[in-house]
Structures are given as structure tokens and as C-alpha cells.
Amino acid sequence: MEVKINQVEKVITAQFIGRLDTPASLEVSRQVQPLIDHADLTVVLDCSQMEYISSSGLRIFLTIRKAASARGGRVIIRNMNEDIRKVFMMTGFLNLFEVEKA
């Protein structure tokens, strides 16, 4: 899994490419640290190239959301494919995030 992070003014975007499964999650949680550090901004989690998300991946997203809630930021999940969206719904996490299509 590859994570590309890009900040433009007050919006910080992380683009997830590949499978966010349990083996990948340790490295990804380290890579998304800039999002936690900038959780007072608008954080966009771009999932347009994410193929899969596991429970470990959900936990990473929840950590980012918690940091944003604590610091007055905002988290937007953009372009989830249908399977990933179903995972969010089946676990009851869908309505915790702002979800956008491009």
C-alpha cells in the first residue's frame, strides 16, 4: 500500500493506493502521522485507488477522525468504491464521516 500526502493551504489530502490490510496497516499508521499532526485542518482521505480495507484500516481512519474531533478539524472520505463503503456501513462507521464522490 502506498500513501501520498499533499497539503494545499488548509486542506491536507492522503491518497491511499492499494490494499489497506492488516500487514500494511503498521506502515500506513506511521505514514498518516502528518494527518494527525494537522488534524485541525480539513483532512481528505482519498480512497479512489484503495482496493480493500480491513479492521486495522478502519482503526487508522478512526484515529484520524478522533484527532480531528479533538482539534476542531474535519475529515472527508472521498471516492470510496462500493465494497469499501459497504465495510463502513456494515460496521456502523459510515455516518461518522463526511463521504464525498468527486
Binding site: 479492521s55 478502519l58 456494515m90 456502523g92 459510515l94 455516518n95
Partner: protein, 354 residues
């Protein structure tokens, strides 16, 4: 402005200059102490402000009535603080806190709320002259409501300092306004008291289990949630995958339950009782064959509402309505509603007779 002060007043002014840093330091100490005490006592106020009288202002005061004061210690408003409360009842609570923090000079303090005759209205404020250990000068703390503060400021700005004789009509209008604001202050306090009474009644009814008597609203739903009404179902669902339950706010379900026709907490309790088995079936089908080991505490209410809608013939449209409330309106909700209908169509609860 050039002022002419006699030697006595100049001496007082010099004493002021020498002690100005001390006044500034005590100002910050008293301000911090007041704020932390009110915060600790749960008294929410509009503002706590403080100032040390400017030299020019003191010089003006001395020019007018310097002979009244034998030394700087006789002037009690060099350091002045003001606590502005939202509610009139809170003025007395703040006063009580001030009495505990500082020594109050009762001979000099004045309750201007009590100086009015029965047929007069005007400036209403509680002024305490206080002493703090280790500081030789007294200081003033004014306590009043936001409405009393607004009246005092407007009256001060438009009349008292204008330097012209104030027309009788103006004074009469300000007096009428003071009376009106006094009534408004009382009404705000009464509303708060009634609201607190209502909340206590709701808490008692919820605690005693008389849920049918409790109308569904924000307060009652919040109280109900404190009893963890979905915990049993959530634990049962989580056990399917030995999942961790992530606690989240469930207040977003209030409009959903209302939309499903729940009018009392009893209606929600009945919805839980009647649909828990169906909700469990949905959860088993959705996550039973996955390795997902984390769910949110909203999973129970989400599946309960889904089951209720489907069992009552709400179909895809009903589910989209629920998802629109929870997630915000979106075309994705249409797809998710279709997904839910597809997933649940063969589950036992969809074919069970009532």
C-alpha cells in the same frame, strides 16, 4: 487635557504611579482566581473582566473630589473587576464565591438592586469592595446580568457623561426599559428553572422505567442513552466476530426514531424488543463471514431501524430515508439502501409471520 491638582492630590497620584505594577499583578491574580473558582463551581458566566484605572481617569476623579480621600487606600476602584452573568440567580452565586475568596468590606459594598423604591427602575448591580491578603488596597467587584450590563452601558453612554441636561422623556424611557429588562431577567431565570425541573422529571421517569410517559425529545433521548439501551444487542452483534465495540454518539438516531413514528421512549423500547432478533440476523449475515473485528456502537440502532423499516413495508425508500438522515442526503444512500434490501431479502425475519 491639562489638570490642576493640589499637592495632596499630586501625592495620591504619585502613590498610584508607584504601586501601578502591583495593581496590575493583583488584577491578574484576582482575575485568574475568580475565573477558576467560577469554572470549578460550574457557574457559566458571560464574562469576567478587569481593569486598573488609568492615570488620566484617576486625575479627573481627584480634580473633582480629591479632598474626600486622605490617601490612595481610600479610593476603592483603582482596581475594578466585573462579572457578567447570564442569569439573575447567578449574580448571588457569584457573590457567594467572591465572599469565600476575599474579605468583603460590608460598610462600603452596596447592593444597587435593593436601593430602588417600589415604583422606580434603574441601575441594578451588586458592588462588593474587597480586600485580598497581602495587598494593602481595596478593590471593587461588580456583579450583574448581561441585561443589567447592557442597560448600564447604554445609560452611561447616552446620558450620564454627555455633559448636557438629560430630558425628562429620556430618563422616563430608560426607566421603562430598566423595568422591562428586570422582567426579562426574571423570565430567563424562570425558564431555566422550569427546564431543569423538566429534566429532573424526565430523569426520574427514565430511571423508574416509566418510558411510556416520557415524550421523545433531545433531553429525554440523551437520558435514555445513558441507560445503554442498545448495549445488549451491540454486545451480541460484536460477539459474532469477537469484535471490539467503538463507542460513538447515538444522538443522530433521534430524528430517525422520530421519523419511524416513535413518540415516547416507550416506543423505542418496544422497537428494540420487537426487532432485536431481526437486527442480529442482519449483523450475522453482514459480518459473520468477514474478519471485521471492530464495530461502532451505532451498529445496534442501525440494524434495528433497518429491520423495523423492512418489516413494516418501508422497503428501499424507507431505508434511503433513514440513511439520508444519518449520512446526509446523497445518491450513495440509494445504492446502500438497495444493497440492504438485497442482503436481507432471504433472512428469516423477512419471512416470519408476525
Amino acid at each position: 487635557m491639562t489638570r490642576t491638582l493640589d499637592a495632596h492630590c499630586e501625592a495620591i497620584l504619585e502613590e498610584y504611579r508607584q504601586h501601578l505594577p502591583q495593581f496590575e499583578s493583583v488584577k491578574n491574580e484576582v482575575l485568574d482566581l475568580l475565573r477558576s473558582t467560577l469554572d470549578g463551581a460550574g457557574i457559566i458566566v458571560a464574562s469576567v473582566e478587569a481593569r486598573v484605572k488609568a492615570e488620566g481617569s484617576l486625575a479627573g476623579k481627584l480634580e473633582l473630589k480629591g479632598s474626600k480621600y486622605s490617601s490612595l487606600a481610600d479610593i476603592t476602584d483603582i482596581l475594578g473587576l466585573r462579572v457578567i452573568t447570564f442569569y439573575i440567580d447567578d449574580v448571588d452565586k457569584v457573590a457567594s464565591a467572591v465572599e469565600r475568596l476575599f474579605e468583603v468590606d460590608w460598610d462600603e459594598s452596596v447592593d444597587k438592586r435593593k436601593i430602588h423604591e417600589i415604583d422606580s427602575f434603574g441601575y441594578m448591580s451588586l458592588h462588593y469592595i474587597c480586600r485580598k491578603k497581602g495587598f494593602p488596597y481595596r478593590f471593587e467587584i461588580q456583579m450583574r446580568t448581561v441585561l443589567q450590563h447592557a442597560w448600564a452601558n447604554l445609560n452611561h453612554d447616552t446620558g450620564y457623561k454627555s455633559g448636557v441636561e438629560v430630558p425628562r422623556e429620556y430618563l422616563r424611557n430608560m426607566s421603562r426599559l430598566a423595568g422591562m429588562l428586570e422582567m426579562a431577567d426574571e423570565q430567563f431565570s424562570r425558564i431555566r428553572t422550569e427546564l431543569n425541573d423538566y429534566r429532573r422529571r424526565v430523569q426520574a421517569l427514565v430511571a423508574s422505567g416509566n418510558l411510556d410517559e416520557v415524550l421523545l425529545d433531545g433531553d429525554s433521548f440523551r437520558n435514555y442513552l445513558s441507560l445503554n439501551p442498545f448495549a445488549k444487542l451491540n454486545k451480541r452483534i460484536a460477539a459474532v466476530n469477537q469484535a471490539e465495540i467503538q463507542e460513538v454518539s447515538l444522538m443522530g438516531y433521534l430524528p430517525v426514531f422520530k421519523g419511524l413514528g416513535c413518540k415516547t421512549l416507550g416506543d423505542i423500547a418496544k422497537l428494540i424488543k420487537d426487532n432485536s432478533e431481526a437486527a442480529y440476523q442482519i449483523a450475522c449475515y453482514q459480518i459473520g463471514l468477514t474478519d471485521l473485528d471492530i464495530v461502532s456502537s451505532s451498529i445496534g440502532p442501525q440494524h434495528l431501524c433497518t429491520a423495523f423499516i423492512l418489516r413494516n413495508g418501508g422497503g428501499r425508500g424507507g431505508l434511503k430515508y433513514m440513511l439520508d438522515i444519518l449520512n446526509g442526503p446523497s445518491e450513495m444512500n440509494e445504492e446502500m439502501a438497495a444493497f440492504l434490501v438485497e442482503q436481507t431479502k432471504d433472512l428469516p425475519f423477512m419471512h416470519a409471520s408476525e
